[in-house]
Symmetry: C2
Subunit: 238 residues, 2 copies
């Protein structure tokens, strides 16, 4: 019933446009009563994105099942991949919906609020399972938004290309940018960072020499370098 309603709604949105389609049109096409529609979808907008609720449930379950992972950033990247798989499972529908969404401002703002829910879900996981620091919630929100931005960049490229190509590989590639910078694969606990100021034989710039165990997260390297150099962060904005 839910799927039949979503299908009828989407057919009509493509035929007549989103604004010109009423809930009455949708239930007539699906052959059900008006109340059935609202039992499944709070609004017409929700019928355009019938899979996000289920995807959020799946994402939340995945995050809970991996709450003990030593690499929470890797976990949220993998969780973002669930969203890409949902889109990739129905390429034609995803591409048509993308085009529809570009044309209807109300659907774009609806989509923004869905994206925000994913982002908050990922940020909460990072805050609860990331390293305990004074800036825990800041770090969690920054990383979650970077994960969502990377995922959406890959998703948008795939949708613009008409759903051609390997969506999941594109998402993995985009997310690797976030994993590389923020990830803690190898275990943050094993990290050891040593920093020595020095001077390269050729060239005229000062150098830093850093020794770190493989698997040391980059943010920890950055912090180690900063504290070694005092007021001269290696890549700061000073």
């Amino acid at each position: 019933m839910r799927e039949a309603l979503a299908e009828a709604a989407f057919e009509l949105f493509l035929e007549r446009g989103f604004e010109r389609t009423t809930v009455d049109d949708i239930v007539a096409r699906a052959g059900v009563g008006r109340r059935s529609f609202f039992r499944y979808f709070p609004s017409k907008e929700d019928a355009v994105f019938p899979d996000h609720e289920g995807c959020l449930v799946e994402m939340t379950a995945y995050l809970e099942a991996n709450a003990g992972s030593p690499d929470p950033v890797g976990t949220v990247c993998d969780a973002a991949g669930i969203v890409m798989r949902m889109y990739a499972a129905k390429p034609d529908f995803s591409v048509q919906r993308y085009r529809l969404t570009r044309e209807v401002p109300g659907l774009r703002t609806y989509e923004l609020s869905v994206v925000r829910r994913y982002e908050r879900t990922l940020a909460n996981h990072l805050r609860d399972h990331g390293p305990e620091t004074a800036d825990g919630s800041l770090r969690a929100e920054v990383i979650a938004s970077a994960v969502v931005a990377a995922h959406n960049n890959a998703l948008r490229s795939w949708l613009r290309a008409g759903g051609e190509g390997n969506a999941e590989a594109a998402a993995d590639h985009a997310l690797s940018l976030v994993r590389d910078v923020w990830g803690t694969a190898g275990g943050a606990g094993a990290a050891a960072v040593g920093v020595l100021p020095g001077r390269l034989p050729e060239g005229d710039g000062e150098v830093v020499i850093m020794v770190a165990r493989k698997g040391t997260p980059v943010w920890r390297v950055v912090r180690g370098i900063e504290s070694a150099l005092g007021a001269s962060p290696v890549a700061g904005g000073a």
Copy 2:
């Protein structure tokens, strides 16, 4: 006139609630005609956020004036600070509006679309003025969203604290997280990264030893380490 309308609107929203206030109520309170309202504000929502348009203009001008900076990430962080200054200039108004926005779903989605515009403005700058790489747009979007998330984390903390404390210092602190990881102060052009695999005397983990000029951006260090180690990224999610 514009300011008088925004003030009348906001008084009424606080007195009667956003939903129960009509445009007719607002123009009656301001003592002007109905058409005047729509000359200044496309919708009732816009009257709640009268300063964002001007702030976007100011941000765009700032970005253009700093298009030649060797540190585009620092430039977009500074540009995000313009938004915080706008909020901090009217602490009482900002705090009251924050509370109103929490209660009205329509204002929250409006706010999401404003945030998205700032994010896109910053991403466009980074894409056009950041290092030219195959992943230029991906990198630009990831960094822009990280900047916005850091800014909003500081802004929200300040608003929840009733507008107490130094908003701009809080924004600077939050944004330093992004500058440290993504910033290119010191000039990417001067970067030289060398990586040697090795083994620490004590401990059982493999190590990497990295030599880089001061000022080398962290992403360049990460890339250097990755390419030196092939399939074993120093902080990847493999």
